[in-house]
Symmetry: C2
Subunit: 202 residues, 2 copies
């Protein structure tokens, strides 16, 4: 028995973070991927919940043993997604969701070809522009860069299995939940979930 791995990407302004948060609230069997980090825990953060907190040496050791799906250094701290943690979660039957960009998604697909790719789009380019323009307080070149980054991300939509167009949030959430439910129903997953029944049939 093994869980599904979901890889969710979107340009900023598509509403990915909100959608994923709502999904996780309603589908407790889907676990958000928990990254490893070398930064110190903040008050209230718990090891293994927000992050796996590790020492710099330990993190460097993981890099040298090629244990990360992806890693990055941000403001002097390391962050990374462990291949083994994902494999273990899946082997235990948990679904895992990774919020990632198109480049990360390509890396994940190489290691986990069964990963289910979901791309979230805004309803239109005009609406995206409106969302990314914000309250008109940002400099034009900042807005330009934001839009260019969003368009660059969106050009990879064709690399994903499913596309959700986030016009109405509740509809987009129903779409995402349908993908999760449906992905558990394919022949291989069902056989894994119901071994006794399938053993009698095949």
């Amino acid at each position: 028995m093994s869980g599904n791995l979901y890889v969710v990407a979107a340009p900023s302004g598509a509403g990915k973070t909100t959608l994923v948060r709502m999904l996780l609230e309603r589908e407790p069997a889907v676990h958000l991927s928990i990254s490893f980090t070398t930064r110190a825990p903040r008050p209230g953060e718990q090891n293994g919940r927000e992050y796996h907190f590790v020492a710099v040496d330990a993190f460097r050791g993981m890099i040298s043993r090629d244990e990360f799906l992806e890693w990055a250094e941000v403001h002097g701290n390391f962050y990374g997604t462990s291949k083994k943690w994902i494999s273990d979660q899946l082997a235990e039957g948990h679904d895992v969701l990774l919020e990632i960009d198109w480049q990360g998604a390509q890396q994940v697909r190489k290691l986990f070809p069964e990963a289910i790719g979901v791309f979230i789009l805004p309803p239109s380019m005009d609406e995206l522009t409106r969302r990314l323009t914000g309250r008109g307080t940002d400099a034009p070149d900042v807005i330009e860069r934001r839009l260019a980054a969003a368009e660059a991300e969106m050009r990879h939509v064709g690399e994903f299995d499913y596309v959700i167009i986030n016009d109405q949030l509740d509809q987009a959430l129903d779409d995402l939940r349908a993908i999760v439910r449906c992905s558990r129903l394919n022949f291989g997953k069902q056989r894994g979930q119901h071994p006794a029944l399938f053993a009698k049939l095949l």
Copy 2:
């Protein structure tokens, strides 16, 4: 833009007919395939709704032009599924659902490789036996034959994309609806539905 073709199979006793009827009530965009027949309409039946009613000569003409996906003669009347009718429905953007057995499903897959196969299973073999044994009024050899036919059908479950285990009817219906919703979200379908948005991205 084109619709999805669903091919739904099950052994008797799995609850297929009930599930499909409930799906059609809740998803009006999914159309049940309408067969052609040479039998006379019964009171209340309407041409193009329950069946396409045609004369024997017209039906034989369709057979000779290889226009049927499958056809059969039952009690002196012909029944058949028209390839063209299905193609037309899909081209108009309608989803079409075919209730069919594993042999019919194989034929459909040859012509419509994009067809989405759904197989409905009972929760256990014991439960199926109980359902097929009925109220104990049938002869043992009749029950034996019924069970053998159900098992023969179920051995083909692996040829279908999705498997629904009909333990709780409302859950099984939610499964079927998730498959329908999810199948509309794949990249190709979404591009067909939102040509203006995708034209700007690709």
